[in-house]
Amino acid sequence: AQSVAQPEDQVNVAEGNPLTVKCTYSVSGNPYLFWYVQYPNRGLQFLLKYITGDNLVKGSYGFEAEFNKSQTSFHLKKPSALVSDSALYFCAVRDKGMIYNQGGKLIFGQGTELSVKP
């Protein structure tokens, strides 16, 4: 069965320091991987995705993620954290399904609360 794990419920970082939010996955074949962010009282916003190609993916708000096939990981990173980055982050893998027109649903990790302090 396909699954995603975010091993940390919470990550605390000082403003200006680099941040990493971890994600590992289990899926057959080549994964389609996504990161979403949820700010307080808001919906999920798409940050970035890995479909194919370069293992380092750049996304919105200065975030990037590195796809590592051997470690089955897709960690989210940012070189210098901002207080405004404080939010709930979700990693997801797309279920490709068995039939072309099926699949497409996302399988999410449990989320990681990022707190950036001044």
Partner: protein, 114 residues
């Protein structure tokens, strides 16, 4: 371009009552998905429409949940009768047929069943 919209933003109902959630996808998006997050746990898939057809409803928890997508445009998710465990945030997402990899989410409906 308008994003995915959901109505209502919040709903508080009593156990046994009926609630209907609505989702308006991004115009032109054939794919529409419903998800929910219950009690701070992971976000779980409920079902997937391609236009007006249910493509995958494997995540629907039971027959108290009924989803429709009239004319392939907006979608409704009805819970009847609601139970306490139905409380949570219900998200809708849509994607283009050609670029189905990226799903764009609405703000969610927070449902509280008392």
């Amino acid at each position: 371009e308008a994003g995915v919209t959901q109505f209502p933003s919040h709903s508080v109902i009593e156990k046994g009552q009926t609630v209907t959630l609505r989702c308006d996808p991004i115009s032109g998006h054939d794919n529409l998905y419903w998800y929910r997050r219950v009690m701070g746990k992971e976000i779980k898939f409920l079902l997937h429409f391609v236009k007006e057809s249910k493509q995958d409803e494997s995540g629907m928890p039971n027959n108290r949940f009924l989803a429709e997508r009239t004319g392939g445009t907006y979608s409704t998710l009805k819970v009847q009768p609601a139970e306490l465990e139905d409380s949570g945030v219900y998200f809708c997402a849509s994607s283009q047929r050609e670029r189905r990899e990226t799903q764009y989410f609405g703000p969610g409906t927070r449902l509280l069943v008392l």
